[in-house]
Amino acid sequence: GAGVSQTPSNKVTEKGKYVELRCDPISGHTALYWYRQSLGQGPEFLIYFQGTGAADDSGLPNDRFFAVRPEGSVSTLKIQRTERGDSAVYLCASSWDSYNEQFFGPGTRLTVL
């Protein structure tokens, strides 16, 4: 079956612009995670959704970052007023619930010039 998909695969933007990153989880998975991976680092937890609600957003670095999952399926990570330090690979993962294996997407590489 189809795995987790993320679009776009690459995004280049200018400092100060707004970007949206999309994640399509595996059908039926209720748990969805966003991570950020900078060069040479492991994935850094950003936010966790259980269904439609953000069960834990403690990893979001500041109020420029926001994520939604309005219908409990597709999720969008939104970054306002992008900064060069936001450049990273943004990973999405989904699972049946928070205690099960996470399936990762291919990531979106964000470059802020």
Binding site: A31, G40, G42, A55, D56, G59, G105
Partner: protein, 109 residues
Amino acid sequence: AQRVTQPEKLLSVFKGAPVELKCNYSYSGSPELFWYVQYSRQRLQLLLRHISRESIKGFTADLNKGETSFHLKKPFAQEEDSAMYYCALSYDTGNQFYFGTGTSLTVIP
């Protein structure tokens, strides 16, 4: 606070030699520990988790609460084991996951 530490960024072993990838964690509660692997040009995927106590692709990992470690071991490394390995920790609520910085394993033919 660094919750998961992988002290080796790079590790090279010869084919057929034993391999151990180190992972230490800092958490006083009841953690769940995982090893994830990323092969070249592939997605990050689960290798094993401590509660299942399985051996996957010949790899095993034992949770040592006294030493707060969860080292990954394989008695005889294979070339196809070359990959990036990440140790990860989840609190018992399963809400947050913390990954280490990863160890790049190269198995020399």
